[in-house]
């Protein structure tokens, strides 16, 4: 029957029920109709043999820059939605630091419209916390919410005036909006491009101390407690930040936190050759910080792993290290990098999958990221135990700025299904 898809013999990893079993998945009209036993009246229009493949809910990426509007010479919504779907990401969330900034409904409408035309990964949008991200006036949060933004954020732009920040949190709480925070103290990180430590000292690079992150994080924690806003901390980079989040959660605060996948694999030592592919913000920190971030994910202090995808054109990166644009093109490596931690025994498979699916969905108040009967059939099927190497040609993103080029991986996305439609299949 039309719209009936049967996925056969997949190794199904269900993060909600914490099970791994081999069974069939039945999809009817874009939704998950049954797991295991064929539902009544099901007549497969199409079957997909998934023997040897693992199946997880489609991944939910909490932070991916699409570069549109504003920097379409780097990438655009169509190109990055294609890359996201090829990376197994079926829902992504785009921060408000586009150009123009997402501080009025028209920009949200534009992004939703282009994403709909691209007809691949679903795109959610964060609105600006302050007008123009300038940290001076509140944005029209009600209007933004009405136009479909699912939270507010000032991205990495500073809100220097603490009174403005407190009122912005309070107003977001009033509207039931979650604030998404990238903790960064403007003054302490100004002009910095590397972790303030021995490597930056040796290379003569302006350092960004750990306190740039922890001071901003502590300030926000106090204001969250006072205003009662629901908050999410993104892109953590320091061991001490993990500790602060852990304590706040123990005290019962309603917060969640994420880390980008590259922070779980790279450290300050990687910038030693001035390779601008490793220039990211927040900077790559010490090995000790990296280990603490891994432990934070493993024990659930850090709920989510995101890509922090930032595609660039070649010119933006072909500059001396401090002048090169920060950021990594990361959609292609999100799943392989996270599953590498599972293969290395650093993370439990279910923890890893939850950090990529149901946890970010919860933070976004989205129904995505699960295998619940009746949920949209957004699925990712991947191969494990293969050997492949990342290079510019097999990257799907238009941005080729990955420090992982040349790395070998064992896991790779094979099929991506969105609303029951097979959107992507890897070629052999």
């Amino acid at each position: 029957m039309k719209g009936h898809l049967q996925i056969k013999n997949a190794r199904v990893i269900d993060p909600t029920n914490k099970t791994i079993d081999s069974y069939d998945v039945f999809i009817v009209k874009g939704k998950i109709a049954a797991l295991g036993n064929k539902p009544e009246g099901f007549d497969a229009e199409r079957t997909l043999d998934a023997s040897g493949l693992s199946l997880i809910p489609g991944m939910v990426d909490l932070c991916a820059r699409l570069r549109e509007p504003g920097a379409v010479h780097k990438a655009d919504i169509a190109s990055e939605c294609r890359a996201a779907s090829a990376g197994g990401v079926t829902t992504l969330c785009c921060p408000p630091d586009t150009d123009p900034v997402i501080d009025e409904p028209a920009v949200i409408e534009l992004i939703h419209h282009k994403a709909k035309i691209a007809a691949r990964t679903k795109v959610l949008v964060l609105g600006a916390l302050s007008h123009g991200l300038k940290g001076e006036r509140l944005s029209e949060m009600w209007a933004l919410q009405n136009a479909g933004c699912i939270g507010v954020s000032n991205a990495r732009a500073p809100v220097i005036n603490t009174q403005v920040l407190r009122r912005a949190y309070s107003y977001a709480a009033n509207n039931g909006l979650t604030v998404f925070i990238e903790p960064d103290d403007h003054w302490l990180s100004m002009q910095g491009c590397a972790h303030d430590g021995p490597v930056a000292t040796r290379l003569g690079l302006q350092g960004i101390p750990v306190s740039a992150e922890t001071i901003a994080l502590s300030r926000s924690l106090e204001l969250i407690a006072e205003t009662g806003v629901r908050a999410h901390f993104g892109r953590l980079s320091c061991a001490h930040s993990v500790e602060l989040i852990r304590r706040a959660k123990q005290e019962g605060m309603n917060i969640s936190a994420d880390v980008s996948a590259h922070q779980l694999h790279l450290s300050e030592n990687d910038i030693s050759s001035f390779n601008s592919a490793f220039h990211v913000l927040p900077p790559l920190r010490s090995m000790r910080d990296m280990t603490a971030l891994r432990l934070g994910v493993a024990d659930g202090t850090i709920d989510i792993i995101c890509s922090d995808h930032q595609p660039h054109d070649a010119d933006s990166k072909q500059q001396p290290f401090p002048s090169a644009a920060p950021g990594i093109s990361a959609l292609d490596t999100l799943l392989p990098l996270v599953l590498a931690l599972v293969d290395e025994g650093e993370l439990e498979l279910h923890t890893a999958v939850r950090a990529l699916t149901s946890n970010p969905a919860n933070t976004l108040n989205s129904a995505a990221g699960t295998l619940t009967i009746g949920a949209a059939a957004d699925l990712c099927l991947y191969e494990n135990n293969i050997d492949w190497q990342l290079d510019e040609n097999n990257m799907h993103s238009r941005g080729k700025n990955s420090p992982f080029i040349g790395w070998n991986f064992r896991n790779r996305v094979k099929h991506t299904i969105i609303n029951g439609t097979l959107i992507y299949s890897a070629s052999q």
Partner: protein, 344 residues
């Protein structure tokens, strides 16, 4: 499991080894870090022979006749550019001075476009100064393989010819055995590319002890890892030093709240006759210039008998001649050097 950087680690190694050609000879001179004492001593020995030439009335040798050297300065400089120019001319090379801070990049041309244009003029060597740390590595990675790059200062990272002329000055005053020397570097370590290169050079030449002295605001995090002892107190740090190297203090440091005033810095860390008495009686005093009298050094010390500051300038020419002749005087190597195509 990720099979960790197969290619990535090779790239990283390349980035350090790009200074050497396939036969281990100096092809670029970007940083002291990663070079062995053998190469550093060869530079010093070669400089010794040029120093003698420079003392003669006819100061020119034909070693680099027909070679074109471009002074590519993205940051203002008089002294360094002049000594490079003089060194190149004494080796009979043609010299072109290009000041980029006022030309191309302010018109929106990218750094690499500027380089491609200049290398299309068939030159053999770029002497580069740029305000970004890592700029010299970046340029060396992207120029045509037939062009050599000498770093004349990149951001806070390195100034290797300055460090080598300092080593030359120390060797002339104190002899070849650095092992018995105690060297103190004083002042603004945080912003100093000269100090970083000096530290690498001193440690590569097995200096007995390298000390850095300055206020906590001007000592960068983890500098101990470079093989130095940190002193925040001048009197303790300078005690029994054989060599005292003063660094230049930029006036804009007061604005960034790194220091309260020049006077206070001078009181605490300025090299006065009195403080110099704490060093060994035969200690020499060095400064990369230009000096701020009354800020980091007392005039009577700068002009005094222990000062070798002007000798440093003189030796700078010989050391730069040595580096240029070693780099450009190589017999053509295999495919690396003869290949005239740009790799970018």
């Amino acid at each position: 499991m990720v099979n960790k950087p197969s290619k990535a680690s090779l790239l990283a190694q390349d980035a350090w080894n790009i200074q050497l050609d396939a036969r281990g000879r100096l092809k670029h001179f970007l940083t002291i870090e990663g070079l062995g004492s053998e190469i550093l001593n060869t530079i010093l020995d070669t400089a010794e022979s040029f120093a003698n030439i420079n003392e003669q009335s006819v100061k020119k040798v034909p070693l680099l006749r027909g070679k074109t050297i471009v002074n590519l300065f993205f940051e203002a400089s008089t002294r360094t550019r002049t000594t490079f120019e003089l060194a190149a001319k004494r080796l009979s090379a043609d010299v072109l001075n290009i000041n980029i801070s006022t030309s191309a990049t302010s018109k929106g041309e990218t750094l690499l476009d500027t380089l491609r244009n200049i290398q299309a003029m068939q030159c053999d060597m770029f002497i580069v100064r740029h305000n970004d740390s890592g700029a010299a590595h970046h340029i060396a990675n992207h120029v045509s393989p037939r062009i050599s790059v000498i770093n004349a200062g990149d951001g806070r990272h390195a100034h290797p010819t300055q460090a080598m002329l300092d080593m030359f000055t120390i060797r002339r005053s104190k002899g070849h055995d650095f092992g018995r020397l105690r060297v103190a570097i004083v002042g603004d370590l945080l912003h100093s590319r000269v100090a970083r290169s000096q530290i690498h050079a001193l440690n590569t030449l097995n200096t007995g002890e390298v000390r850095v002295i300055g206020p906590k605001t001007l000592i960068p995090a983890g500098i101990e890892d470079m093989g130095v002892t940190v002193y925040n107190d001048m009197a303790t740090g300078i005690k029994d030093a054989d060599v005292v190297i003063m660094l230049r203090l930029q006036k804009e440091r007061m604005l960034g709240a790194l220091l309260p005033s020049e006077q206070e810095f001078y009181t605490m860390y300025g090299l006065t006759r009195e403080k110099l008495k704490l060093a060994k009686a035969d200690a020499i005093v060095m400064h990369p210039g230009p000096i701020n009298r009354g800020v980091e050094i007392e005039s009577a010390v700068a002009d005094g008998p222990q000062s070798v500051i002007l000798k440093q300038v003189t030796y700078g020419i010989a050391v730069r001649m040595a580096v240029m002749s070693m780099v450009l005087g190589r017999e053509p190597d295999s495919e690396n050097d003869s290949d005239g195509e740009a790799q970018t």
